[in-house]
Amino acid sequence: MNYTELTAISAFSFLEGASLPEELVAQAAGLGHAALGIADYNSLAGVVRAHVAAKAAGLRLLVGARLVFADAPEMICYPTDRAAWGRLCRLLSLGKGRAAKGACDLRIADLAAQAAGQILIIVPPAILDAKFNDFLDRIRGLTCDRLYLAAARRFAPDDARRLAALARLGGQYRLGLIAVNEVLYHAPERRMLQDVLRCIRLGCTLEQAGTRLEPHGERYLKPPAEMARLLAAHLDALRNQDEILHRVTFSLDQLRYEYPDEPVPAGTTPDEHLAALTWQGAARRYPETIPAAVRASIHRELALIAELDYARYFLTVDDIVRHARSLGILCQGRGSAANSAVCYALGITAVDPTEIDLLFARFISAERREPPDIDVDFEHERREEIIQYLYQRYGRARAALAATVIHFRPRSAIRAVGQVMGLAQDATAALAAQSWNPGDEIWSDPQLRDAGLDPTAPVIRHVVSLARALIGLPRHLSQHVGGFVLTRERLDETVPIGPAAMAGRSFIEWDKDDINALGMMKVDILALGMLTAIRKCFALLGIDDLAAIPREDPHVYAMLTRGDSIGVFQVESRAQMNMLPRLAPRCFYDLVIEVAIVRPGPIQGDMVHPYLRRRQGHEKVQFPAPDPAHGPPDELQRVLGRTLGVPLFQEQAMRIAIEAAHFSPDEANALRRAMATFRNIGTIQHFRTKLVGGMVQRGYPTAFAEACFRQIEGFGTYGFPESHAASFAHLVYVSAWLKCHHPAAFAAALLNAQPMGFYAPAQIISDARSHGVRIRPIDVTRSDWDCTLSDGALQLGLRLITGFRAGWAAQIMQARRPNDLASALACEIPRSALDLLAEADALRGIGLDRRRALWQIGQLDHAPTLPLFGPLTPPDGNVALPVMQTGEQVLTDYQTTGFSLRAHPLALLRRHAALAGTKPCACLATARDGSRISLAGLITVRQRPGSAKGTMFITIEDETGIANLILWPAIVASFRAVIIAATLLRAAGQVQRSAEGVVHVIIENIQDCSALIGTLDAPLARADEGPSRPAPSRPASSRPAPPRRPSPRHPRDERPLPRSRDFR
């Protein structure tokens, strides 16, 4: 007897199903089922994975959804054909649109509108009462394809009677019975995990859940013979399944993706139009003549595009970029698309084929049959305009974001399971705090004992085994950061669309792997802070276009070689600033390498040092050669020549595999995918034998082959493609040029584009100052909202006042008259805005310092009749307010704006006893390698890169400059509390100086001196205070007082200085 399970629920019914679609498919195939039907609760999120797995396993798959209604029993819906599938998607989109993110609100009337062509299996409620009879009466009139009743063995005492009643109902209302088992997991062992998932969903422990859990563990895929035995009295229910199998002809293969129609001039095809635009663009890019090699590339690419019918995709992206340019938004393509000469000609990407050796096959290849994937970076402040343009142009029914599936990761899994099992909170915390290397067993016995837990205790064993099973199961869907799907026909007739948590956003139920599998197109609309900064800088300087910047300016490279790169794109981090003097870039390609080399991939693969040694001439550049019988001696030189024999880019790794180890294009592709898989769990090991073996077989030395593999493995997800590095290098050059030649405008643009970049405003301002830029403080009579240039000086803007709003600034700017200082405040800004201005010392321009201004503003509330801002009101001479000292001024500067132009806190604190013996950071410039030194400074950056095995890098800043500190893991562990909580640090250690002059300090001891910051605004000596009046009091107890518990203070008082930027 054949059997098909038609009510299988996968883990994409979030927190209910306990098996992945792939597992269900594998089990059904193994049991010899005729087919499998996956129907998740109001969702089609898991069907593509099931489809891919079923094809591989050779199992027939029916795709549908289990509809949950507010006013009717549940029904399982299987569309019979493509049109019916579209209706199901529309139905689910309607339900999702009505509810919040993740929920779905459906009524039976909605189904009536979309019922044509659907096979519906009604799931009878627990009690068959008159209400259900009424429902069956009404539902008979539905214009669907077929209507059935689900019949299952529930292992309740009245099973036989219930099935008989269902059979009678079926006869009465002319509904066939369908045998089902209401499957929640693929095998009986998963019952425990399903109980846990349900408890997570209900938010209670297993004990508290009680009867809300399933009473037994029978809801798994059973063998056909067993199902026949269980329903022996109703074999017609099994036979009726054949009807459904016969009538459903739909499969996801039928989803043909249609690119949106781009308007092409009458009489031309998309290919012709694309070609025309490409040649026009190429002529613009190369005003003299188009180089022969480029011409050849363009021809080749256009031919391939035509063969694969991708022209409309390119036209779509071209349209988006054109629109952005028309709005004046800077944008640039990134990623593998930068490998395309056509994209360069069209202006989508910025990598010139004459400068970089493009590998078009990395982007599109005939073998891969994957649709192209172009990612475009836009100015981060204006990205929303592009997104709205897409929604507007294509409509909400034809454009939506892709989804991302959020899975259970080890920490979230152990927390969830620990809570559900009722494990004590400290034990769960101890388990969640563990870390391990990929490939190791998580929560192994020794690790548990180290954490103070007993691995043999039953509850711990349950928790660990269940948490391990939970890892990798999906938890919920979320919107992808910028991947848009666009279609010609209605998108919501291909896949359901639902609202995201953000207002105005919607996303489909499939993620980017699903989209790839079905051959749909996706464009990534991404945001880049530096593009905003560059455009703002251009606006200040009157520059039009990125192309207007002179190329290969030696001053720029000299500046970068000095390591002077704060604010420059990509190369401003501590690690990059240390690499720049070593690498000493002198041309554009050097920047490409600089961008790619300081990344976890090359660092882990041990490519950085070999490259530097060869570049500096310490090592001879040589290329191992294969056996002459197998290949030419310069085989590797072609691949690795430009990088001195060291593979630094993803394409080089792929090329080594193809040319040196003779991988087939498909295998190379699989290798690339293994390299790119996020958190690859050992998949790359498969390729080890093939690569090393292949190379050795062709005559390469084994050691070299092994080293190559290590380098490729080290790429993991972090190696850059060369084209991507080149796109970024372009922006590195432009931002460096701006910093070099127009430091004031560049600093203003960076400040106006915050939040972005590696550094806080305080560092940007002090860096500008050290380059000779004059800085004018924030002043309500002169400042705009944005920072501006005035006489070549940088005029700081009102936006730097924490908490100030652009709307208030606009009012001030409007009310301001050139010669009337007080006019700036003749507008309707609220009292809180005035307070902010006063505290930020922005009212000096009208003659009011902080105290005076605050006092007078206070009077607005308490004595509204007092005159406030007449023309240059003389300060109220009667009020005896103490004068604000410098220390307090500096502290208040930091509290209100995040920086101070008066002095650095360290300059004022240097004489304090706690900092005795410390030297200014500037001393490091001349410190000897190996000498001991004691420094003090504010922490500006904390970094703990994943590739550094627990080592921490801290940057501190004092009044003379910055210092980079290195803390080994042991030091990090012993001073953990200080590192986390401190703002001001005193550190002692040993100087480490490299040959190029890069200086670090290896720390041996640190102290938290943050309390000193509070002393900046300490009161004057007692003698200066006014006479005290006698107050009624009694002597307090003569015992010594216990330590004072500080009363809660405003967070800004506890932490007056802005928090450091922390990075992994």
Binding site: R191, L206, A209, H862, G1026, P1032, S1033
Partner: protein, 449 residues
């Protein structure tokens, strides 16, 4: 974001402070234990402390979140003067900060912000006036850090520049304006209490005190023509804990012997700790005119007394429902004082009598899960004529250790509701899947009505 609210000394020693984010605190101290802050509980504990403090003076009040007021006007001499009172309280509450002053505001200021030996209000920081953090910040910005900084400013300037609230607080602290403190309600009438300089420790001492108090209380009730329906006995211990004994009576009574006997019985529950210094009896009164004593028959009086004794001595329990699939765990025992909870209507048929321990039986049944044809129970053979089932109930696996050899499938139960030829309706089950190579175990679990 969750922040740390309070830390104990051990955590503070490790570097954890209040106001740190929970993530930072956990990073500093990985084995930090945390609980959600329950302001309600804190408030109740504070109220209890204020109540305890009534041992010293009747006028006490809680000062949330972490203080109490005591108005000791006229009480100090009872405790050896102000110094003696402070010493006594300090001994009872070793971690507390205290101060005495002429006004409530000043006392508050000194207690929270003063140093020992300091008696100058003007030297205290502005925060000692009780202003909120935002106002403190503003005043600090204006350069006004200490209460003394306010002195040079005239009242008009203070009002105009800082606001009426500051001015009012300043006045209150200096005693120019009155404070308002809401004290706890006074204890009820007819309360009797005894205070001992030497704390009482033994049962005999406590019993003696109770007897004396009881006699005096009943005498007063007789005069007032009232009886008590409930009685609370409070024992104030030297370590600031309060033990309470509550008695209820079936009718109003002022029989000293009877009440005394019940009190003595209840002494077992009282833990005197390091000693009890004050005992107080507080009755709940009801009218009880003299005539009532006479016409109540002695037998009835005995019955009432017996009932009181029984309820006070025995710890009665009742059954309450528990939500569980497992039949024998679907009810639990709770104390009789717990509110009664109705048993929900069973979704599936359940027997009227459930055996505490299922009894093994022998069975003839068809494989794999047909109901049995015949059962053998207590050497008696029963023929089954009708049966329902199987009802499959899986084990509550989380209460048992995982065991590869003993899978869940082998521990589930299949229940059958059978009717025998004699008309008996029984509830039997089989453990585990029936495999031909293994004989399964069958049990009887209950009998239907």
């Amino acid at each position: 974001m969750r922040r740390v609210h309070t830390v104990n000394a051990a955590a503070r020693a490790r570097g954890v402070r209040a106001d740190l984010s929970l993530a930072d605190a956990s990073a500093i101290c990985p084995n930090l234990l945390t609980w959600p802050h329950d302001p309600q509980q804190d408030r109740e504990a504070l109220d209890r402390l204020a109540l305890w403090a009534q041992a010293v003076t009747p006028l006490t009040a809680a000062d949330p979140p972490d203080g109490i007021w005591l108005d000791i006007t006229g009480c100090a001499h009872l405790w050896g003067g102000e110094a003696g009172l402070m010493a006594r309280l300090q001994a009872r509450l070793p971690g507390a900060r205290m101060a005495i002053a002429d006004t409530a505001s000043a006392a508050w200021a000194f207690a929270r912000y003063g140093e020992p030996g300091q008696n100058d209000l003007h030297a205290l920081p502005i925060a000692a006036l009780g202003v909120d953090a935002a106002t403190q910040r503003r005043l600090r910005r204006l350069g006004l850090r200490r209460i003394g900084d306010l002195a040079p400013l005239s009242r008009g300037e203070l009002l105009a520049g800082c606001g009426a609230d500051i001015l009012a607080r300043y006045d209150r602290a200096l005693g120019r304006a009155p404070d308002a403190v809401h004290f706890l309600p006074a204890p009820t009438d007819q309360t009797v209490s005894e205070q001992h300089a030497e704390p009482l420790l033994t049962a005999a001492q406590l019993g003696g005190a109770l007897t004396r108090l009881c006699t005096s209380l009943c005498a007063r009730l007789t005069i007032a023509r009232a009886g008590m329906t409930a009685l609370t006995a409070q024992f104030y211990r030297v370590d600031m804990r309060l033990e309470t004994l509550r008695l209820g009576f079936s009718g109003p009574t002022r029989d000293a012997a009877h009440i005394g006997k019940l009190l003595h019985n209840g002494l077992n529950q009282i833990d005197p700790g390091f000693g009890v210094e004050i005992i107080r009896l507080e009755p709940v009164l009801a009218d009880m005119p003299d005539s009532q004593d006479d016409w109540l028959a002695p037998a009835a009086m005995d019955a009432a007394h017996t009932l009181d004794l029984l309820l006070a001595r025995a710890s009665l329990q009742r059954f309450a429902p528990r939500d569980s699939h497992i039949p024998e765990r679907s009810a639990q025992r709770v104390a009789i004082s717990a509110p009664p909870a109705p048993f929900p209507r069973p979704v599936r048929p359940r027997p009227a009598v459930l055996f505490a321990r299922p009894a093994p039986i022998q069975v003839i049944a068809e494989w794999p899960d047909d109901p049995p044809r015949m059962i053998l129970w207590r050497s008696q053979r029963y023929r089954v004529i009708r049966a329902d089932g199987p009802e499959r109930i899986g084990r509550d696996w989380w209460r048992f250790a995982p065991d590869a050899a003993d899978t869940e499938a082998e521990r589930m139960r299949d229940y059958y509701h059978i009717e025998t030829s004699e008309g008996l309706r029984l509830w039997i089950f089989r453990v585990g899947i029936y495999a031909p190579e293994r004989s399964a175990d069958w049990f009887i679990h209950g009998v239907f009505a």
